[in-house]
């Protein structure tokens, strides 16, 4: 259930509007904040109660990243964008899930997915997404569509009865998917709502100390990533439904164009906070990158690594690229992987994981003795690694000293 509501509220998130702004005027500053809001009427009270229930479960979820400093940092970015009085109405939960997404529910619960943090590169880019979310929240879009699509919940009630008759976990999972598409259809915002949220979101940025032009770049980068993913999978068209709710409207390109027009020109000289963002994410970046690599989307992962490397290649980036190529595992990939690990080791000789990857790649490409040396180095650097006994066995099996 929790997943379903999360997904439902995901619709608040990254729905693509199918309109192009005809105006070239910058977005106006946000209206004065109306203060603490309480739900009114049976629909809204019900919606809030459900959201409260979901939030209680969310607070205990093992998927939430419990890093006070990181959560406080993301909240600060939101506050910098929308202003302190507004952002006090929200609670932020960072979820370890490698997808590009952020959602906000009517009661003020904001979910930020680690995949989003991996993909944005500055405070201004992050603020653009969070501000858009906040725009839906402030305009209470969820409620309007909820009323319009109430018949959909009757359908879900029947679906649940049928699914509960089945003994198979997979059928119940299909029911969750059904919830996702049904909630998705009635939480999908219409064009005017999307337009409003974008307008409000850029309005926050225009009035903030961050550079509003960053908003357009988020979408341009996402388009490029989808294209890279499609090319490597041999698909004719990029897959815009890789993130929920962009499935039927894929005009990220249009969106990038009109967001550029809505950004206030005088904001162009402002700071994006890229260095601060890099510093705050430094500890988590290798973890998020690892999660991304292991979901087996070669093109997208390669694109992300290369984009992160625009500021210069670091040992963790070479290491991640090595892992990506070794996981795909074609003979040519293994040769590349060994090369990438070697570059990581050259930059950071004590990076144990890179020695491990280097050793395994060399062994697989027929360079057993060099591979053995790299694995021995790994064991020296990390003698109590969880796979140390297996590394020892691997060294032995390729004719080593053990």
């Amino acid at each position: 259930m929790k997943r379903a509501l999360t997904a439902a509220c995901g619709a608040l998130a990254l729905v693509s509007p199918a309109w192009a702004a005809t105006t070239a005027k910058p977005a106006p500053p946000p209206p004065p904040y109306a203060g603490v809001y309480q739900p009114k009427g049976v629909d809204e009270i019900g919606l809030w109660q459900e959201a409260d229930e979901q939030e209680r479960a969310l607070a205990n979820s093992p998927l939430v990243i419990r890093d006070e400093a990181l959560t406080a940092y993301v909240k600060n970015v939101l506050c910098a964008a929308v202003g302190a009085d507004r952002c006090n109405a929200t609670r932020i939960y960072i979820l370890r899930e490698p997808t590009f997404n952020a959602t906000m529910v009517p009661n003020g619960t904001m979910r930020v997915y680690s995949g989003l943090l991996l993909r944005v590169r500055s405070e201004a880019e992050l603020a653009a997404i969070l501000g858009h979310e906040f725009g839906h929240f402030e305009k209470r879009h969820g409620l309007q569509d909820f009323k319009a699509g109430r018949t959909a919940s009757d359908l879900l009630a029947w679906g649940q009865v049928l699914a509960s008759m089945s003994t198979s976990y997979n059928v119940r999972r299909s029911f969750n998917d059904l919830q996702l598409s049904v909630y998705g259809s009635f939480f999908r915002f219409n064009r005017n709502q999307e337009r409003e949220a974008d307008l409000v979101g850029i309005g926050y940025l225009n009035a903030s100390s961050l550079r509003p032009q960053a908003a357009a770049r988020v979408w341009q980068n996402l388009v490029a990533e989808f294209q890279a993913s499609a090319v490597s999978r041999g698909l004719k068209k990029p897959r815009f439904n890789a993130i929920a709710f962009t499935a039927t409207h894929p005009p990220e390109e249009e969106r990038a164009a009109y967001l550029g027009e809505l950004a206030a020109p005088e904001g162009d000289a402002r700071d994006e906070g890229a260095e601060r963002y890099k510093g705050a994410l430094a500890k988590w970046l290798p973890v998020f990158l690892d999660d991304q690599i292991k979901i087996n989307d070669f093109g997208a992962s390669e694109y992300l690594i290369n984009r992160l490397a625009e500021d210069g290649w670091t040992a963790p980036l070479w290491q991640a690229r090595g892992e990506l190529f070794r996981a795909r595992g074609a003979p040519r990939d293994l040769v590349h992987a060994a090369d990438f690990y070697a570059k990581a080791v050259a930059l950071e000789p004590d990076l144990a994981e890179a020695h491990r990857g280097l050793g395994l790649s060399l062994i697989k490409t027929g360079k057993a003795s060099e591979g053995r040396a790299a694995l021995e180095r790994y064991l020296k650097l990390k003698p109590d690694a969880s796979d140390a006994p297996m590394i020892g066995m691997t060294i032995g099996s390729v004719g080593g000293t053990q």
Partner: protein
């Protein structure tokens, strides 16, 4: 999506759910002490206690057994996965490919293969390999490894597995259960079952 299209899709999904709910699963009983072939392969086990075999197979090379029910204590047998193949069936070969077992996969990389398969198949971020060591499986030198993950239902699970490579094919048995209660309870049963695994030529 138009409202009409949306309805049609939803009704389609409902019908599917109804059909799956209606079809009784022909799960099977695996009696204590009787040799049973698993995963349509040369691998056999002699269960030291009664088990249930689920009829729904996760893939061509896999078969699931359980004591109390699916997802509570699942033993999955992988019988002779061939190079170039994924461990379980891919939902969409082109759009959602799974990692493949390859001819060059090393024994030490099998835990990573399982990790990649779980992460890609379940679209999850929280998966940790907690340990691996050499161990006998099917009478040969294999790997014994443990892991933890949280599935999309937010329930933390633990797993333990044995694997071995024979003639460039992967044979593996895994045990997955919720960390709370079920894992520790059925772990001895899993180990006892896995230790009876043999390869009949």
């Amino acid at each position: 999506m138009t409202m009409f299209g949306g309805r049609a899709l939803m009704l389609g999904a409902l019908c599917l759910a109804a059909m799956s709910a209606g079809a009784a699963h022909a799960n099977a009983y695996r009696e204590k002490g009787k040799v049973a072939e698993v995963a349509d392969s040369a691998m056999t086990v002699t269960p030291p206690r009664d088990w249930n075999r689920l009829s729904a197979k996760p893939g061509k090379y896999a078969e699931v057994w359980t004591l109390d029910g699916e997802q509570l204590n699942d033993v999955t047998f992988y019988g002779g996965v061939e190079p170039g193949k994924p461990l379980v069936k891919e939902r969409d070969k082109k759009r959602d490919p799974l990692p493949k077992f390859t001819a060059s996969t090393l024994l030490i990389e099998v835990p990573e293969l399982l990790e990649g398969t779980y992460r890609a198949e379940k679209q999850i971020g929280g998966f940790t390999l907690t340990g691996s060591k050499p161990a006998q499986f099917l009478g040969r030198e294999g790997v014994n490894f443990t892991y933890e993950y949280t599935d999309q239902d937010d329930l933390p699970r633990k797993g333990e597995a044995r694997a071995v490579l024979i003639d460039k094919k992967l044979y593996m048995v895994t045990f997955d259960a919720p960390r709370l209660h079920y894992f520790d309870k059925a772990l001895p049963d899993f180990r006892a079952l896995a230790s009876t695994a043999k390869l009949s030529k």
